[in-house]
Amino acid sequence: MLVFENGSKGRYATAQAPKRNDAVNDIPESLLRKSAPCLPEVSELQAVRHFTNLSRKNFSIDTQFYPLGSCTMKYNPKGAQKAAMLPGFIARHPLAPESHSQGYLSCVYDLQEILKEVTGMSGVSLSPMAGAQGEFAGVAMIKAYHEGRKDFARTEIIVPEAAHGTNPATAVMCGYKVKEIPVKADGDVDLEALKEAVGPQTAGIMMTNPSTCGVFERQVEAIAKTVHDAGGLLYYDGANLNAILGKVRPGDMGFDVLHMNLHKTFATPHGGGGPGSGPVAVGERLLPYLPTPIAGCEQQDSGIKRYHWIDETGLPDTIGRLSTFMGNAGIILRAYIYAVMLGKEGLHRVGEFSTLNANYMAKLMSDAGFELAYKDRRATHEFIITLSQQAKTLGVSAMDFAKRLLDYGYHAPTTYFPLLVPECFLIEPTETESINELEGFVEAMIAIQKEAENSPDTVRGAPFTQPVRRLDDVKAARELDVAYTPE
């Protein structure tokens, strides 16, 4: 039942609104609202019960194994949640003077320094509010760099065909044309095709490494050389940074600019689809173009550190401002807290144990007869299986397996991505899952395989145990109903 359908006229959470209700008489009639909007009319208890019950219809990390490839659904520490909601942080107005912001600014500054170290880059800005905005900032900096050198001929961004959809969409938002290059059967970029693609029109390349194929791009240095020799820059999409955290740094691989997804690698909650946070890190060449604001720090003679904001006055060539204030501050705090708790030894382990978990699962699944898409390669923090045999011989698709997994109490992996592997699952267990969950998931897959062979309709008709069965997406798009309207 919708919350609108459970109310009574005139009811609201009386304790939560001001008691006074004087009429407003200093605003012209023509500017005032004439009719009441239809908002819910429920008591505080009704509201709490409605939304608590809604929450119980969700899968989440706190309740289920959630191996959604490329999304890094790891445990979100409760301590980070609690500390980020301390009153001093919650109540600070974004435009409060620096004298009343030293606590928050010190956290921002310290996180910038930590991210510089783990990425091997020279400068960091935390202002982009999501991965896609980080990408936008990164490509805008590439553009500003070329234009700063009066090189206006560079009109193209190269992306491998396996790239996330945000990469080409971002390049277009920055005014670039997109050139896709093929990926070889072993999952690496087709270097010969890249060599043919680059030229004086190349602004840069956007790459994810490990790639969305779940393998490490072994020719990364040759790719860097090819693009740099052509005068282009290298963009690192940090979607898969979790795989290599503490093991290899984008700066050392030759990248000029990157974004990180703090909601993936730094364990901040995904919140049902956001907020994220997408800081950017750059090498020396792009330092002048970082988006603002950035936290700066001066050590006074007394040894006391004073923190301040750096805006366009201090960084005149900046690509500018991407949010009203200073990005998703609360997410930045949670990521900082996570980094503080892990420390240098803990950050190392992220890459190690996420990779151990993925390789273990990949081996178990391969031993159980599932086909790995890149069976001769090491898995990274994620791996791909293809169910195209099942689809062909049993008429049971990857989608069917995904829906049936829900009945077994597991969130489905990412399905049908990357697009170049048919009927695929992209599986990312993360380092915070124990061997018990990994084995449980594989056992569920084996059980579903048996069902697919013996009673395929059970799999094709799944799920059976969720609040709804499969939904009619065609009807949703054709008979568009995106808002409740009162009768």
Partner: protein
């Protein structure tokens, strides 16, 4: 190991199944000379106990001042139930509802959110949210350029009374696609748009007109006349609105003869703490005919194969994960958790509660403005109708800078407002003061006393 559950026994078992000697062997496809050295620039890890101590010390440094700054982020009472329920793990630690059957909680909530935003704005369609108000306006501008069939123009006309930081963000984001902004001048006496300047812009082709209500300075624009003027000149009208104010003021869908075409704004006043500027969320609503140009996620109501009501992501063919370089935007996430909080907030308050919040905020602000009229050395610069925020001017004869006055007040524990002098050459001695329902009358008296002392102190 923090947050990693593996025992030594687990590790050995896993390695032997994989057929590797050590965890390091799993990285053997990475060239050896590229492997990272220890991250010496990162401090050693802290336990939760030490971490809480560190963070509490830092949070306390920023605590305690009485805040009268608004300028786009507003302090309202947040019912305890809002974040108690919103931070349940099932909302907090879920992701984008790709598996609709296992995400009905988030999906239904967002559908309810979309419904409430349509009601508040008087428009037909809302998306599931954007990042924040300023970046939301940038998306609205891009949307208008795509959607305006009558105009091929890549130029936008924006009111000079739109928040200056919004103007900056929009310019910085859309400039990369060759879209230009022309600014409509404001009248420094009325603090609203200068209507006599409008005819200077009639000859040019603009894709859209951006109108704020209330405007950055809290003043109310004549949105009906402006909407009619913009549409008569072939522009789509984009409204930038405060959602709390919409409980009191005319909704964009009812502006002028035909209503604004798109409404955007900052969702923060709806149950989100100030929290240094985020996470907030941007809302965007539009007329039905523009729905296919809408950026970001949209949730639709449908039925399952047994005919039972359910909710799902819809119109995904607009989005980057399907359309790639031809998508309406590169946006991927929304601000789901912030929207969860806002939906619970609007549900608790309803229209009755929300309009009381709007009225109490406005009346508190009016009360402070009245009190300050008897204070020597300052003038209330705002003359016409306004909403919960007004401009205060230091008597220019004193020649004390706004910055000095505000710093003096801050030392007294009162954050007195936002200095607007850098943004408007005609308003050199002015700052913006905001009052909401959370302030008591004694807080207002404290403001006045603190300002009086500051004016003495810097005289």
């Amino acid at each position: 190991m923090p947050f990693i559950p593996h025992t030594e026994q687990d590790i050995q078992k896993m390695l032997s199944v994989i057929g590797a000697q050590s965890i390091d062997d799993l990285f053997d496809e990475i060239p050896a000379h590229l492997r990272a050295k220890p991250l010496d620039g990162v401090p050693d890890g802290l336990g939760e106990m030490e971490m809480i101590r560190l963070l509490s010390d830092r949070a306390q440094q920023d605590e305690g001042a009485l805040c009268f700054i608004g300028a786009g982020a507003y302090e309202h009472h947040i019912p305890a139930a809002v974040w108690d329920v919103a931070t349940r793990g099932e909302f907090l630690t879920a992701y984008t509802p790709y598996q609709a059957e296992a995400s009905q909680g988030t999906l239904q909530l967002v559908y309810e959110y979309q419904s409430m935003m349509c009601q508040l704005t008087g428009l037909d369609v809302s998306n599931a949210s954007l990042y924040d108000g300023a970046s939301g306006l940038a998306e609205a501008v891009l949307m208008a350029v795509r959607a305006n069939r009558k105009s091929k123009s890549k130029k936008i006309l924006i009111a000079g009374s739109v928040h200056p930081l919004y103007q900056k963000v929009v310019t910085d984001i859309v400039g990369n696609q060759g879209i230009e902004l022309d600014v409509l001048p404001i009248d420094s006496q009325t603090l609203c748009l200068d209507h006599s300047a409008l005819n200077n812009f009639e000859e040019q082709d603009y894709a859209a007109l951006v109108i704020p209500q209330p405007n950055f300075m809290g003043s109310l624009e004549d949105v009906n006349a402006l909407t009619n003027w913009g549409q008569a000149n072939g522009m789509l009208v984009i409204a930038v609105v405060n959602p709390t104010a919409l409980a009191l003021l005319s909704p964009p869908g009812e502006w002028g003869d035909n209503g604004a075409d798109i409404a955007v704004g900052e969702g923060q006043p709806l149950g989100l703490p100030l929290a240094s500027g985020g996470p907030y969320f941007g809302f965007i609503c539009c007329k039905q005919k523009l729905v296919r140009q809408m950026p970001g996620r949209i949730i639709g109501r449908t039925v399952d194969l047994e005919g039972k009501e359910g909710f799902t992501l819809t119109l995904q063919a607009r989005e980057q994960h399907i359309r790639r370089s031809k998508a309406t935007s590169n946006i991927c996430t929304n601000q789901g958790l912030a929207v969860t909080a806002a939906t619970i907030y609007m549900t608790l308050l309803g229209y009755e509660g929300l309009s009381r919040v709007a009225k109490a905020s406005h009346q508190n602000a009016s009360l402070l403005a009245d009190k300050l009229k008897t204070l020597d050395g300052v003038n209330v610069r705002t003359k016409g109708a306004f909403f919960h925020e007004f401009v205060l001017e230091i008597d220019s004869k004193r020649d004390s800078s706004v910055q000095a006055v505000l710093e003096n007040m801050a030392e007294q524990g009162v954050l007195g407002g936002f200095d607007i002098s850098p943004y408007y050459s005609d308003l050199k001695y002015c700052f913006l003061v905001c009052v909401t329902e959370v302030k008591s009358e004694s807080d207002l008296d404290l403001f006045k006393a603190s300002l009086a002392r500051a004016l003495e102190g810097v005289a």
